[in-house]
Amino acid sequence: MAEFTPPPHGTVCWRELTAQRVDAAKSFYAELLGWSLEQSKMTTMPYTEIHIDGQAVGGMMKIDEQWGEGWENIPAHWMTYIAVDNCDEAVSKIKDSGGNVCVPPFDAPGVGRMAVAGDPSGATFSVIQFAAPTV
């Protein structure tokens, strides 16, 4: 099991490949960089974690028909996550500071509470408030 310590507020903490062709990416990165890729134990949904030296540093998630109409046309991308102490407060601050909210806060069971936002110029990122570890 990989170790993971919730990082301080404001830390760039997680990268996530979101793509239709996740399987192609998995073999590519494993071969290229020797990443260890494993199904997450934090969730029952299909979610591949990236482990480097025993540390979970990111993930990969498949875009499929469950994403709704137009799912084929969502550009594949690496999403950047920034840790926050409180997701809802961070989202209020994002709005007050000239950013916008693309996906309002939602709970990811076992993981935490997250949202997708844009900065004042439109660059997109996610914020995540990690759930307290339940061992």
Partner: protein, 138 residues
């Protein structure tokens, strides 16, 4: 940057924000996340490159304003985040990425005072960058 632990080979070590407005975005990220900024313009020939960090920690990445000077000729990209993976040898790694089915978007190029970087589109179609830091990393 002395005294800070360098990112490990093969790991995510730098997250770059290509901004549509450096002025607005610097205060935005400070307000929301508490980031402070250092001067990274030695890498960009004097164009502003704001290295962001928490407290006195190692910079987590940099932020610049999209312009023809920094992005090259042609259509400018939309504002976006770009993640960098630290590698020992960006030349051989970029070649291997190509052999494994990636598209090379930007072949290895020297970044003054920093290292050598390349950018690819992986076989899933997502952009990612590689960088070998001057001094060889670890």
């Amino acid at each position: 940057m002395d005294g800070h632990e360098m990112p490990k080979n093969g790991s995510f070590g730098w997250t770059e924000i290509a901004s549509g407005s450096l002025e607005k975005c610097k205060s935005f990220y400070s307000n929301v996340f508490g980031w402070t900024y250092g001067d990274g313009s030695a890498a960009t020939g004097g164009m502003e490159y704001a290295e962001y960090r928490l407290g006195d920690g190692y910079p987590m990445g940099g932020m610049y304003e999209i312009s023809p000077e920094l992005c090259g000729e042609g259509e400018l990209p939309p504002p976006h985040f770009l993640n960098y993976i630290i590698v020992d040898d960006v030349h051989s790694l970029t070649g291997k990425a190509f052999d494994l089915g990636a598209t090379v978007v930007r072949p290895p190029m020297a970044v003054p005072n920093v290292g050598t970087m390349s950018m690819i589109k992986d076989p899933a179609g997502a952009m990612i960058a590689f960088i070998t830091l001057d001094g060889g990393g670890n």
